[in-house]
Assembly symmetry: C2
Homo-oligomer: 369 residues x 2
């Protein structure tokens, strides 16, 4: 295999081709990639220190000596790898200097710190630097079969763990203890880690959309909201279920059913070609019509992939068109301060034939005895 050129059967080869088309469209000779998620998408490298330069002819990955063994096994021939003993930036000037035809170089405005931007101006003055936004993010929205398979595995892990933790849910446990059991079950299912701090929010705390897990003890009658995910081959899942400890009150049942119906309607309606705001509106208008519009204080969903929050957005202000191949969350919720909150979140693949709900964990209201 030629170094710096993935085999044509390798999904990375298709991704690199798409990036090269985007570079040509943007009239750039090269793109400097500093987003670690995009570096992984292009090269397979999962380390936490790296820079990539992509041109029409080359794909070069710079990383430091700590990753020498790892990068070899992860990247193989998919990129030319430069192992750096000191600063990645010093090595970057050498790599770029060896590319005689490169003049206009894009950089990722949303993934470059001001300090590093200053380096471009001060030490990289012989190139023309052009800020870009979302070049790779837009390409990454369209998942290939390899990526969808990894997300499906991550969803399977999350659902397996949820089944385990619901078995052991009991009054007197703290939210933090429940989070620990959930995370151990995620690990037992094979998860490489946790895409975000697990949320276990009970009772009144379930009304805080950004609660994590605290020292509150679960009590009979509580709503218990669990929002968490798994990671498989770098790809994330992100699901939420809300259950009741003991018997649900009529009011809990009523509000739950509104959220469940909003989730079902949006998951069925979302499809490529629709704008993110239109998908959001499906759930929001239903909840609004039932009198809880003010209580749904966040967006309907977001893309998932190598990052647990990526494009496309499903929100009131999202006028971008949803592409085929995107995997998005559908997560309507109703939050009532002092009473509690209910959210039901699924992961949905957008295909030309419509939506495919990838997460299958039951959505009826579970009363945990």
């Amino acid at each position: 295999m030629t170094a710096g050129r993935p085999a044509s059967s390798d999904p990375r080869s298709v991704r690199l081709g798409a990036l090269r088309d985007a570079l040509a469209t943007a009239d750039l000779d090269a793109l400097l990639v500093s987003s670690l998620a995009s570096i992984r998408w292009l090269t397979g490298f999962s380390g936490s220190s790296g820079l990539v330069v992509a041109t029409a002819k080359e794909l070069v990955l710079l990383t430091d000596f700590r990753y020498a063994t790892q990068v070899e096994s992860e990247v193989g021939g998919a990129a030319r790898v430069v192992i750096v003993s000191q600063s990645l930036w010093t090595a970057l000037w050498e790599v770029l200097g060896g590319m005689s035809t490169v003049q206009r170089v894009g950089f990722e405005s949303m993934h470059l710190l001001h300090r590093d931007f200053q380096r471009l101006l001060e030490q990289g003055g012989r190139w023309q630097w052009r800020p870009t936004t979302d070049v790779l993010e837009l390409l990454r929205e369209r998942k290939d079969a390899t990526e969808v398979a990894a997300i499906r595995r991550a969803i399977g892990m999350a659902e397996q763990a949820l089944a385990v933790v619901l078995e052991s849910l009991a009054p007197g446990l703290t939210e933090t203890q429940v989070a620990g059991r959930l995370e151990a079950a995620l690990r037992d299912a094979g998860s490489e880690g946790f895409p975000f701090p697990s949320i276990v929010a009970s009772g009144e705390r379930s009304a805080l959309p950004h609660a994590r897990a605290g020292d509150r003890r679960l009590a009979v009658g509580d709503l218990v909201l669990l929002d968490f995910g798994a990671i498989a081959d770098g790809y994330c899942s992100d699901i939420t279920r809300t259950v009741v400890l003991g018997r649900a009150s009529p009011e809990q049942v009523d509000v739950y059913e509104i959220v469940r119906e909003a989730n079902a309607r949006a998951a069925a309606a979302v499809r490529p070609g629709m704008r993110g705001m239109d998908a959001d509106a499906v759930a929001r208008e239903y909840i609004d019509a039932r009198g809880f519009g003010e209580a749904f204080g966040h967006s309907l969903g977001h893309g998932i992939g190598l990052e647990v929050h990526e494009g496309p957005r499903l929100a009131r202000t999202a006028d971008g068109v949803l592409p085929p191949g995107a995997v998005v969350t559908i997560e309507p919720g109703i939050y009532r301060p002092g009473w509690g909150g209910i959210r039901i979140e699924d992961d949905v693949l957008l295909t030309e034939e419509g939506s495919v709900v990838l997460s299958g964990f039951r959505r009826d209201l579970l009363e945990i005895a």
Copy 2:
């Protein structure tokens, strides 16, 4: 309590005073703080969306509506809080516009993306923007009693979890399963989360300093390296122990004793006024003299606090002087490809009277039957 002015008995009041001194020294009218860890240090706010403006007279925190309830309980009167319904940046121009004497505004070059820097230039053109580095980071290196107490709690949680997981270590478990048990035990001990992805590396994989946890199954004779931490009130611990599954070989014992002695010497020697490179040299020269200098391929340590990697650095190239009050890791290691790796990491407080090793988990070589 006056809004925007913490009570004088509040540690945040002392911190704000130190920042104001630093602003005066740097001839700045204000500092725009975008580092979330520094925002938490100044105000107590732990959310993931915020900006702070600090002047000689005011401390203003901007965050979005999702955090309205949380910010009230966390910040109290320690800052003037502005709840924003749309963009934090739009609200920032209004807040700054109301500060009639502010002209020269510092920003954090290492915590501001190029995109947001462009906003300063394009929308904030009526102020003079000055890049700063490490203004708050240097202040944060000196922990106060509240912070040291939180780090001690986080260390206690980590040690409690380590004791639990070592009890259950057995051949046939995967590294990922061990990580799951460790993390559940951390949660049971009360940890708010995980400061970094737990490392469980066994056998040959223990030679990879940046391994996480994989699907390798533990076997008799393995070195098993566990590097992990807990979080208490936002403050991190970070410890490493390496054990042997079954009986240790003479070579494992020999290498272990070198690392243990390097750890002990550096932990005893490190003190305020010393440069980071001199602390690093204590361990490195000892390991080097025993013939393993090449096998200690990373730095001796780093500060811990609200971030698990913060200043000061203890490394070959760190010429900064270590301040009193810093809590640093001491983590020498020896890594031999194909054989395995050993690291022993403790958390050490630097006081005027010398070093205090805060982590007390036993350091003799444990053979797990």
